[in-house]
């Protein structure tokens, strides 16, 4: 009987520990302040490599995907991919008009970086600079996809 009670107590302790350590809204991670320079990209086309997915060659497709609800990313000068959770302090980044018009632009942004399960998430509060499209990839890759 004592053994059963000890077992139950141990199980309860383990359950409590799992509950207390499980990630969730109640235990938000501490972000790191960062400044990132890079190109605003369509995360899916870039990470899946289904086509050439940066610069002017991919601009139209990047607008399509951002409008269609694919998360927008930034390909940093450090070659890291950042998933944008906020732009200019606005968390409405899915299908949003503001972010649609920035596709393929090179930007300098500042915000909070969260890293979770291999993904770098960026909550941008400040757009320091927007250089427009500087990657003229259409010279080499035409229009991706379909050529028109």
């Amino acid at each position: 009987m004592l053994r059963v009670r000890n077992y139950l107590l141990a199980a309860a302790a383990v359950s409590l520990a799992v509950f207390l350590t499980a990630p969730g809204p109640a235990q938000a991670a501490q972000p790191k302040r960062v400044t990132v320079t890079g190109e605003i990209i369509d995360s899916w086309c870039y990470l899946s490599e289904i086509m050439w997915a940066t610069g002017s060659a991919h601009h139209q497709c990047a607008v399509w995907c951002a409008r269609g609800g694919v998360p927008v990313g930034i390909l940093g000068d450090d070659e890291q991919v950042y998933i944008v959770l906020k732009m200019n302090n606005d968390p409405d980044v899915i299908g949003d008009h503001g972010i649609l018009r920035m596709q393929s632009n090179e930007v300098v942004v500042e915000g909070d970086l969260y890293v979770r399960d291999s993904v770098k998430y960026l909550a941008i509060d400040t757009i320091i600079d927007d250089h427009g499209i500087v990657n003229h990839s259409h010279d080499e890759f035409d229009i991706q996809p379909f050529g028109d």
């Binding site: 499980a22 990630p23 969730g24 809204p25 109640a26 938000a28 991670a29 972000p31 995360s43 899916w44 990470l47 899946s48 490599e49 289904i50 002017s56 060659a57 601009h59 139209q60 497709c61 607008v63 399509w64 995907c65 409008r67 269609g68 609800g69 694919v70 998360p71 070659e79 991919v81 998933i83 944008v84 959770l85 906020k86 968390p91 409405d92 980044v93 899915i94 299908g95 949003d96 008009h97 649609l100 018009r101 596709q103 393929s104 632009n105 969260y114 979770r116 399960d117 291999s118 993904v119 770098k120 998430y121 909550a123 427009g132 499209i133 003229h136 259409h138 035409d142 229009i143 028109d148």
Partner: protein, 179 residues
């Protein structure tokens, strides 16, 4: 066993193939980098909520990046659904805060793991193809999702037409560069 009885059994078997979870639904390979066909249970959540504690009650009403939080704590990022040029937010939003079974492909590239969701099954409900964006777009335009205009929604969407009209297909119209 007479012939009509055999026909009934064959019909029931065929029906079972199309209705039983796990038999008719399975992810198609897309040949992605580091691809893995997966099926898992997870809670639909707002990623910003999980990471920062900023939690609107409706997961952001479809305007925020959504994630799938597994029981083991892994936060999966769905970036794509089964439609053309569309993400999975519209498929997941109705189930904000609840657990679903998701079926699709993990892909790992440049050290980043993401998820392409092809099917989703809410609790106590049937499997659905993950193509809600096009269905919603079609409905908003008085069309069926199978209509040609809806299937090419990305060439017909008013906002896209407006932006590409202003910026050009290369985004360089203001610099006088157009295809």
């Amino acid at each position: 066993m007479n012939k009509s009885y055999k026909s009934i059994l064959a019909g029931l078997f065929a029906l079972a193939l199309f209705t039983l979870p796990g038999l008719a639904v399975a992810a198609d390979s897309w040949g992605l980098p580091g691809e893995e066909e997966v099926r898992f249970d997870a809670k639909v959540t707002d990623v910003l909520c999980v990471l920062s504690g900023d939690c609107p009650p409706d997961c952001g009403a479809g305007k925020r990046v959504l994630g799938l939080l597994k029981a083991d704590g892994e936060l999966v990022l769905p970036v794509k659904n089964g439609g053309p040029f569309t993400g999975a937010v519209a498929d997941l939003l109705p189930y904000c805060g609840t657990t679903v079974t998701a079926d699709g492909l993990f892909t790992v590239n440049y050290g980043v793991k993401t998820f392409a969701m092809q099917f989703v099954k809410p609790q106590e409900a049937k499997w659905r193809r993950a193509n809600q964006f096009v269905k919603d777009w079609a409905a908003a335009h008085g069309l069926e999702a199978k209509d040609k205009k809806a299937r090419s929604w990305f060439r017909n969407d008013e906002t896209i037409v407006e932006i590409i009209g202003e910026q050009g297909k290369l985004g360089l119209k203001d610099k006088g560069i157009e295809p």
